[in-house]
Amino acid sequence: MTSTDVQQIYLDHQATTAVDERVVEAMLPYFNNKFGNAASRNHQFGWDAEKATQSARETMAAGINAKSREIVFTSGATESNNLAILGVAKMYAPKGKHLITCSTEHKAVLDPMAALQNAGYEVTVLNVDTKGNIDLNELRNAIREDTILVSLMMANNEIGTIHPVKAIGDICHENGVLFHTDATQAVGKELINVQEMNIDLLSGSAHKMYGPKGVGFLYVRRRNPRVRIEPVFYGGGHERGMRSGTLNVPGIVGMAKAFEICQTDRDSDHQRITALRDSLQAQLAAELTHLTINGDENNRLACSLNISFAFVEGESMLMGMSGIAVSSGSACTSASLEPSYVLRAMGVGDDLAHSSIRFSLGRFTTQREVDRAAELTISTVKRLRDMSPLYEMALEGIDVASVSWGAH
């Protein structure tokens, strides 16, 4: 089926977003008319490109209360996370080889951490509670003499839970440890102030905030303390030597425009999207029993709604909800054939992980779309429960968890 067959409803904004028309407009001149290399110092084409990236740098910096010289442009948040973690680890190795992160981080944080472990570093992975929150005391206790970096995300990509970043930053600074936050899901949505929050490194991506794919940034603090990182890419010495490679000028211009729009519209977007999300959740809860909200209901991103529909499997739900673009934590929908490790880390059983659906709303989501998604979700869950042996057992009063299941 192609996307043109039926009217598709997109509720997967935590995966990616459509580029805002205003962003496309801002980018267009930089593909052909102003196509120069921002590193060309001796002609108008280069000057135009440099001017555009400098202006973008200032916009990005201002949006998080940083200085423009503290912004390093990258290809996206995966690169930013790798650069922050590997870059700090290499540079600060003489000081120590211990890093701290948590079990619900994105793979773009967990995998470089694992690579460091293989290279002789030690990594402490903090646990989370059933809502995806870390314990600040556990963090305090995990910090050692040789700890060089704490990397904890601002908001979770699967469940939307928001970490207490300011409190984490305070603990890190009291202990003289650098603090990196993967803010991919939060940039443009949540207020970010790297000074107040004591953030030393911050990763962000354009395509999660209505900008283009393939561009992101890393904030690297220059004062109190001055953070130094060893590059991951070597080459022409762009980005003050931290990230060599010709700047993606149209992408950078687009990211800045996208961020600017997010800031202008943040309050109204936040309010509207929260209302739509709450409406979706209320409609589902009114018609369906045995729902579990995954994440922290009182402290999550406005756009995010992750629900387990007990007794039905996620992939079969997606099949029934064709026309609604959402994600599932079911193993059958992942490349790894494992259910969501984030839900597992929160203590959600594998059965409920298989039954989870992530709805994520966005700037262009309408009430009509939400109503249609709710309607289709409800009818699909009801239909599938009618053919679920687990639902039948539950109705008979059998505790599914108490049954001893054969190995498969």
Binding site: S316, G320, A331, D350, H354, S388, P389, E392, W405, H408
Partner: protein, 127 residues
């Protein structure tokens, strides 16, 4: 993932969804899989004079698991016990054009058939 038309048809119009009286002496029940693994199949057969006169299923699982069990019940009806035990998972894979990652769904269906028949046979006291 792209599904074959047959999987989609069984998913959208599942045959023989439901339950038979599991206490009845001529009904055999097979329940295979586990919720943690993302699929549980319950398959039941009603057998009269060595012939399967009815078959029902309920499945928790992906579209391919639902389709495999739906197809199994369709095939079972009218078959003798001997013919039923001869059904192999590869027959289901072929009929539904299941991709390699979904072969385990067909294995579950074969197991469910075997378990249902064995349950019936033990009720009859000839196991």
């Amino acid at each position: 993932m792209a599904y074959s038309d047959k999987v989609i048809d069984h998913y959208e119009n599942p045959r023989n969804v439901g339950s038979l009286d599991k206490e009845s002496s001529n009904v055999g029940t097979g329940v295979v899989g586990a919720p943690e693994c993302g699929d549980v199949m319950k398959l039941q057969v009603q057998i009269e004079e060595g012939v399967i006169t009815d078959a029902k299923f309920k499945t928790f699982g992906c579209g391919s698991a639902i389709a495999s069990s739906s197809l199994a019940t369709e095939w079972l009806k009218g078959k003798t016990v001997e013919e039923a035990t001869a059904i192999r998972n590869v027959d289901i894979v072929e009929e539904l054009a299941l991709p390699p990652v979904k072969i385990h769904c067909s294995v579950l269906a074969e197991d469910a058939i075997k378990q249902a028949i064995s349950d019936y046979e033990s009720k009859q006291g000839n196991d």
